[in-house]
Subunit: 211 residues, 2 copies
Amino acid sequence: MELDTPKPRRRGRPPKQADGQRNTRAALVRAGVELLTEKGFAATGIDEFLRRVGVPKGSFYHYFSSKEAFGTELIENYANYFARKLDRWLLDESTPPLQRIANFVADARAGMERHGYRRGCVIGNLGQEMGALPDAYREHLADVFTDWETRLARCLELARQEGSIAPDSDSRTLARFFWIGWEGAVLRAKLELSPTPLDLFAQGFFLGLGR
Amino acid sequence: MELDTPKPRRRGRPPKQADGQRNTRAALVRAGVELLTEKGFAATGIDEFLRRVGVPKGSFYHYFSSKEAFGTELIENYANYFARKLDRWLLDESTPPLQRIANFVADARAGMERHGYRRGCVIGNLGQEMGALPDAYREHLADVFTDWETRLARCLELARQEGSIAPDSDSRTLARFFWIGWEGAVLRAKLELSPTPLDLFAQGFFLGLGR
DNA sequence: ATTTAATTAGACGATCGGTCTATTATTCGC
DNA sequence: GCGAATAATAGACCGATCGTCTAATTAAAT
């Protein structure tokens, strides 16, 4: 929490070019995603986002029409970020398919470790909160999971064709299974402040593939 | 949401015996657990518990010293309720061990269906919220999972000894794997308002056991 | 009868959530 | 160039919520 940003932000319309940091909005989104990985959406007040970035309320409602709209953008932003991260591993043609998945797991694990297991998955966090969230989020979140599922399924399909997993496997179902369990593992890792739930689930998943 | 309870609660010290409903405190806990299965802890205000039961604030702070203390009691209450439910299935000696687990799954599934997939698991919900929760909850929640794990592991151990699953299985690890994934499945079921995540995970788990 | 215990009633102040209006600085249109 | 539109910050504002505290009410204890 970088508290006081003593930089007294200039008011008024900013100069067109060379404005140095055209970043207020982006900074809000970044801080928003960060906070959402740690805390719930309902539990986090707008002031908290603002204090984090050192921006007054007026700016917030200049950029976003409401907290709900802000949330939508956070979901999109995180989903994109994560999809890119996923592809970085799953589309790596220099690596056999199953190893790609293992690499992703290792990367995610390292990420959680880096943040002391205090940050989880934005999509999972929001999903858990659905009872207190705008209902419009539901479909949005579900779509994100479907997207990740598709990406993973493609990789698993490669593995199947390659003969690394049973030829009668259903890649789609396997991918779905993975994400269901993985979200559980992330949640548990956050609770125990430890990577073992991630390891344990991943290991179980790969073992299951072997049958 | 049973809004107005038109029963104008009698004030003053209640009669000693035959008081009919010595239930205010219990009702608060019950409502609390209900709300916690649907919404987050931080997202739910005390007034919401109170309105649900039709009790004024004075009563709440008569029975509980703070919201945090209330929460602790909710965790205990739910953990107990769930452990009893678990035992009802897992200790059923008239049924083979693996079938007991399947029965539990079916029961939990039916429970979620009954509430339109809008209620999840209190412990899981709170776990996800850890970032915004009193840190004292962490250990408490982790202990609950360990307890459930132990109960399930005993059942799996029976299955192992009986030869229903591979003799070199580690019951403890399997049980841990189950709860990790199960929480993920519950979360996902709540998001999709559908039982398929539960079914899919359970099926995958049992298939994995077969190896 | 008087005191004490148990409970409900609800006012209160502080804080905070989300919205909205005002102000300031810049660019754009003509 | 000058006025209008634009982009951004500043912060007042209202209602809700949290936790506390005092008063009121009823029964039990002595």
